[in-house]
Assembly symmetry: none
Homo-oligomer: 131 residues x 4
């Protein structure tokens, strides 16, 4: 299975993080699974028209996070999932994300049910998470 990475330049999310997140997302949805290969650094950098250091940084993070492993001269391969952070760290990140989301959305005037529905519909696409 291959992966289609797209980036948004004007976002406040750094490019390298967008790449990381999309690979993670692909793994989460099953679009990528163990043993699948990622595009080469230069190929992806070329296609996204970004500096190849940026792609390299993203790939390094994927390796550090245990999501991919690099094999010299062959490329990067998706690894089997494993736990990355401590429970505390997970909870801290989760709460921070939730706080930020609610804070961002608070003054936009949407109904609570719309807000919840928007999250639910996005989560519906995800296969890696339990209900």
């Amino acid at each position: 299975m291959n992966i289609q990475v797209n980036i948004v330049l004007g976002s406040d999310v750094p490019i390298y993080r967008q790449i990381v997140e999309q690979v993670k997302h692909a793994v989460a949805t099953g679009a990528l699974s163990e043993g699948d290969t990622l595009p080469s650094i230069r190929a992806l950098a070329n296609r996204l028209v970004v500096n190849h250091n940026t792609v390299a940084k993203a790939y390094n993070l994927l390796v550090q996070d245990g999501i991919a492993r690099s094999e010299k001269g062959r490329g990067l391969f998706i690894t089997a999932p494993r736990n990355l952070y401590s429970q505390e760290e997970l909870r801290r990140r989760f709460d921070e994300a939730a706080d930020r989301f609610v804070g961002d959305v608070l003054m936009l005037g949407f109904k609570k049910s719309e807000i919840v529905a928007a999250i639910q519909s996005r989560l519906a696409e995800v296969t890696i998470l339990k209900d």
Copy 2:
């Protein structure tokens, strides 16, 4: 009604954004409402032990978002809500926030029901939004 702002120094969330979020939250929960005054820039800066420019920046953002109005020499006051942004812009900001949240939370391993519940519990405190 008054507001009690607290910040965490050394967080990866900028100080000025912590202030903004807390004021927004206070407005959203009804703890602050139209006509209420915010602590003076220098008084709050003093109490939080941050530079007054940092507080000023936070307050500026509140003014730009139509949440507060500033009166030179008098202070900052919470304003009545008004339709500042267009429908498209509201939707754009909403989608951006939702996408970001789901992306941030994806790999943390929480159950979908937990994620939704976390949002719902935060929204439960909010009084300015319809169900």
Copy 3:
């Protein structure tokens, strides 16, 4: 296309607003268009002999008004125009500006035809507005 920003020090118009107005004017006349880059914060600050925070403040306002977008580590870029504000907000801002202008000009003794002509001649340079 590039932009040539000039400021008048010691004016009663704040430096950051002079910068904002000139960029807006350049966009309005078509001298700057989507995708064009603004001078880097520090480069412009250097050339204008002002503090880089002052330029940063000006650029921030441009971003908040949807005129430019910032990309960390890359620079600031002119964005495509979009409907940022609601109709009510546009009208409110328009009326405020018009009231202010007429109030400012009232006691200066110019003829009505001169006042209208001055506005028309300035608008003649603008390419982004319909007649």
Copy 4:
């Protein structure tokens, strides 16, 4: 003839300037003419719910500008019109106001004809200016 002064607290125009402008405007439209009397400082301050120093400052400016004269113990009286500024100063103020107005309105998306019409309709109310 009496004058009805109203102020807007949340405006970026200082209160004392609002008072000055409204008196000027009243003179300009003929609502006030030579010999008419202004409300006492304390009476006006009371009615507007502002500090009496603010009203005093406004009245001082009116006297300095030659629009009113104070008679001890009797009050302030409107004087005959006379020129206040040099030609250069008048032109400078005029251009600054016009530049600011056009700058403020540029990105709001109104048609040029609407902009001109808005100014013309506001000027139509003014009686002090020649066509």
